[in-house]
């Protein structure tokens, strides 16, 4: 990254901003920052400045984006928050990606938090800088700061046409105290935030110029293709590289390892001068694995069998009002059913890849698509035993991720191999590696019980059954503990439903070795399927329209506004032709509320999806078009998750391995979509994931409306429906 030219004479340039925020520095060598800011979001103490804003005397302005872009537009939306308050526009700045160094704070794009968590800190950084620049100009003019204003990268006088560029003011401004409570703009004053701005990065993405991780090429680089255990965790007994070494281009075969968060597995790497030779060499390896126990343990039937057995018993209670079991026993009009979701693979079109160079001088350099440069730097430092200051990270664009590239196994493989060979090594996974090796969105079972009285849903119990990411991946769940993430997402505090008589949320952990991890929208896509389809079932049991029945048990105004808007935009009350049906679902996730209405038509033994209307209340947002784009993308990924095959383990092996047997939606299956945004002054919520969870239940409910068939198990074969 470029460093500013101006050096401050004051090395102790410590700025305070009691804002749980970062500050800013102008004209200060970023490297002079001695403090560690490990968690941007949790900082409550006085901090030294983080150089997100660099202004040079020639008036070139660099903004550092601390949230890598996987397609969700953070490369523009995150800097926009600084720029809005700083009063500069995209044609005046250069935007660069942070490199993992701790001075940038938390840098992981994940959990749909990029806008919501940085909304105040980055705007305050921009606003404080602007106030300092204004004060610097006022000092030069010897007038009061109220006699000046900032616009388009300059400070102007109110009473004359005189102005200074920010570059002309940077040195003076950097000597001023950082305002601890800079004045932020009101929503009606925004020029960038809340508008539909074209993404500046798209021209490069349509001309082939954008460089993704896979496109990185480093002088002296060799390629690696890695043989992982077909049963993921198998122990390597022996391998024979005789045939591999006959392949022209193959340089070396060596034992390697795959470092997952909670374990390390064996593998064998083939190093070659080009990747095709490495792959051919990999395919020619003969390896023997000790797969003891894995044939039985990696098996969907075994896992779901235990889940359904658990559905017949009580789980661990997360929350309960009144005595659900007693009330349920007494109830006259009740339902007791199970819903199921499959394991899923992320399948970004760009497979896992990473290029690492561990150098003989004890330094290292890394080029890779990654969601979390900060965590990657820390992890790679620990893994290689090289201090962070001797590692340089280049964050490449991600060709999709959906959670996968926040998992660092493939990055550490490149580090492992380069550490052995001391030349730059590029690891590329095949599509088959990606699908067979996981980790996956966990499959789950929702046991749901509920009852109605006098036409109203008054009792509800969601018993969530399955594997926990917190438990399996982070080893952070006790056996007698209800899953806190899943519990709070299933809670009535989250879904806002008011069940007058009784409600309960409970949990049973069915442990499995099938590796799980976060997948776009994490638990919400699993939990939403059962919850929202079951509310529909209870509505029908109550003899109510499903949307109306939801309104009756909701008091939260934001939820009600979203549902009313959906009803209006989807023409919900207009009668549909025979053979058509509508379904709705509403889910709150990542601080946003999204409702969907899907219309389907009977077609042969199945249905076709005609239209999806989505309404999103994400509070205030940065780029309206990005919100729409992300929601459209969530609709597509949500439909894929609902109607395309899931991941199935049988006898230890994943039965899917490429897009021929793990298909995703194609353009010919794309329904009409419409996305509407709610305007309000609420704090920003997440946008990258919130649109996905309501899609599958809206579809399930639409299928019921059109056909009378209640689907409770995903995926749905929409060409041939059988309940």
């Amino acid at each position: 990254m470029s460093l500013p030219l101006i050096k401050t004479s004051r090395r102790d340039f410590i700025k305070t901003s009691g804002l749980a925020t970062l500050g800013l520095v102008m004209g200060l060598d970023a490297k002079s920052n001695p403090k560690n800011i490990s968690e941007l979001e949790t900082m409550a103490m006085d901090i030294e400045i983080s150089p997100f804003i660099l202004i040079k005397p020639d008036n070139s302005i660099t903004i550092v984006n601390p949230r890598p872009c996987m397609g969700q537009g953070t490369i523009q939306a995150v800097p926009a928050m600084i720029m809005e308050e700083l009063e500069v526009d995209f044609d005046q700045v250069k935007i660069i990606q942070s490199d993992g160094k701790s001075k940038y704070g938390a840098q992981t794009s994940g959990g749909s938090t990029s806008i919501s968590r940085l909304w105040l800190p980055l705007r305050k950084a921009g606003a404080a800088t602007k106030e300092m620049l204004i004060q610097a100009a006022a000092n030069k003019w010897n007038i009061n700061a109220t006699g000046c204003y900032a616009a388009k990268g300059k400070v102007f006088r109110n009473d004359t046409t005189a102005s200074f560029t920010y570059g002309e003011l940077a040195a003076e401004a950097s000597r001023l105290p950082v305002p601890s409570e800079p004045v932020l703009k009101q929503k009606h004053e925004f020029k960038i935030i809340g508008k539909s701005r074209r993404r500046f990065d798209l021209p490069d993405r349509v001309t082939g110029k954008a460089l993704y991780g896979l496109d990185i090429q480093v002088p002296g680089m060799v390629y690696a293709c890695i043989l992982h255990s077909p049963m993921i965790f198998g122990k390597l007994v022996s391998f024979d590289e005789t045939e591999t070494l006959k392949i022209p281009g193959v340089i070396k075969v060596l034992k390697c390892e795959r470092t997952m968060i909670y374990c390390t597995t064996d593998s064998v790497a083939v190093i070659a001068s080009n990747w095709w030779a490495a792959k051919k060499g990999r395919d020619a390896l003969k390896a023997t694995w000790d797969n003891a126990g894995l044939e039985k343990a990696l098996d969907n039937d075994e896992f779901y069998g235990r889940c359904y057995a658990a559905s017949k018993k009580d789980g661990i209670r997360f929350e309960e009002s009144n005595d659900f079991n007693a009330k349920f026993d007494e109830a006259k009009h009740k339902l007791d059913v199970n819903y199921e979701t499959p394991f899923l693979s992320h399948v970004p079109i760009e497979p896992e890849n990473a290029t690492a160079h561990v150098k003989p001088d004890g330094t290292a350099e890394l080029w890779a698509p990654m969601q979390g440069p900060g965590e990657t730097l820390e992890e790679v430092s620990k893994y290689l035993g090289i201090p962070t200051e001797k590692i340089k990270i280049h964050v490449a664009l991600m060709g999709g991720s959906f959670g996968r590239k926040a998992y660092m196994d493939f990055i550490k493989e490149a580090c492992f191999l380069s550490n052995k060979l001391k030349v730059p090594v590029k690891v590329i996974w095949t599509r088959e590696d990606h699908i067979r090796q996981g980790p996956y969105r966990p499959g789950m079972v929702s046991h749901l019980q509920g009852f109605v009285e006098d036409g109203k849903i008054v009792g509800y119990h969601h018993h969530v059954i399955g594997e926990s990411i917190l438990g399996q991946v982070f080893r952070g769940l006790e056996d007698d503990q209800p899953e806190p993430w899943i519990g709070s997402e299933s809670s009535v505090r989250n879904n806002k439903y008011q069940f007058k008589k009784t409600h309960k949320v409970s949990w049973t952990n069915i442990k499995t070795v099938i590796p799980v991890m976060w997948w776009r929208s994490v638990n919400a896509s699993n939990l939403g399927w059962g919850q929202e389809c079951f509310i529909d079932e209870l509505a029908h049991l109550a003899g109510k329209d499903p949307l109306q029945a939801r309104m009756e048990i909701l008091e939260d105004q934001r939820f009600i506004t979203v549902l009313k808007t959906l009803s209006e935009k989807a023409n919900y009350n207009e009668k549909l032709a025979e053979g058509k049906g509508r379904g709705v679902a509403i889910i709150s996730a990542f601080g946003s509320i999204v409702a969907c209405c899907i219309t389907v038509s009977k077609s042969g033994a199945g249905v076709s999806i005609d239209k999806v209307v989505a309404v999103i209340d994400c509070g205030m947002y940065v780029n309206a078009d990005t919100v729409r784009a992300q929601t459209e993308g969530n609709i597509v990924m949500g439909i894929t998750a609902a109607i395309k095959p899931g991941i199935v383990f049988k006898g230890g092996v994943c039965q899917q391995d490429n897009f021929n047997n793990y298909p995703i939606m194609r353009i010919n299956e794309m329904p009409e979509v419409e996305v509407f945004l709610i305007e309000n002054h609420e704090a920003p919520g997440g946008v990258g994931e919130a649109g996905l969870p309501p899609v599958a239940p809206a579809l399930g409910n639409a299928i019921f409306a059109a056909t009378g068939i209640r689907m409770r198990k995903l995926p749905i074969n929409i060409l041939n429906l059988t309940a």
Binding site: C69, M70, G71, Q72, G73, R198, R199, D201, L202, P203, D204, R205, V206, T207, G208, K209, A210, L211, Y212, L214, D215, Q217, P248, G249, N274, W275, W276, K280, V347, P348, I349, E350, P351, L397, M398, G399, G400, S401, F402, R431, D625, A629, Q630, E632, G633, N634, I635, V636, M637, N658, F659, N660, I664, M665, R666, I667, N668, M670, E672, V673
Partner: protein
Amino acid sequence: MAKYTITVNKKAYKIEAEPDVPLVWIIRDYIGLKGTKFGCGIAACGACTVHLNGTPVRSCQLPISGVPAKAEFTTIEGIAGDGLHVIQQAWIDLQVPQCGYCQSGQIMSATALLKKNPKPTDQDINSAMAGNLCRCGTFDRIRKAIHKAADMANNNIEVGIKH
């Protein structure tokens, strides 16, 4: 190793490679044109789509030794010279890409479609584009952008087309 000469974007390249190296790796790693992407290796995702004498093909399925004589390949880097192809302009106008990784392949399929069929229907678009996957889910915008590009081309709207 064998020697081959292949023409990509009107330029002839002398390549020394094993006969079975798929064209996608030749284009990317031997020639250095990184716009063509690898996604699946079995012609199921379309990320590696290039034009072979104007027709879209999956470059992951074509070994260098199987390249026909007089074959002229065009990649994303070669469809518009220094300007933008009308399809690329429409892609920007409708803000189609999210991550953008599949879009080279999408655009190669779309430009070939428009050349063959200047006024495609939704059905024509579905048929021509069904081989190109997009995990970000940009299909609705792709469809609209192709219609827009067709309108722009049919009305001779200048977008710096060099094609």
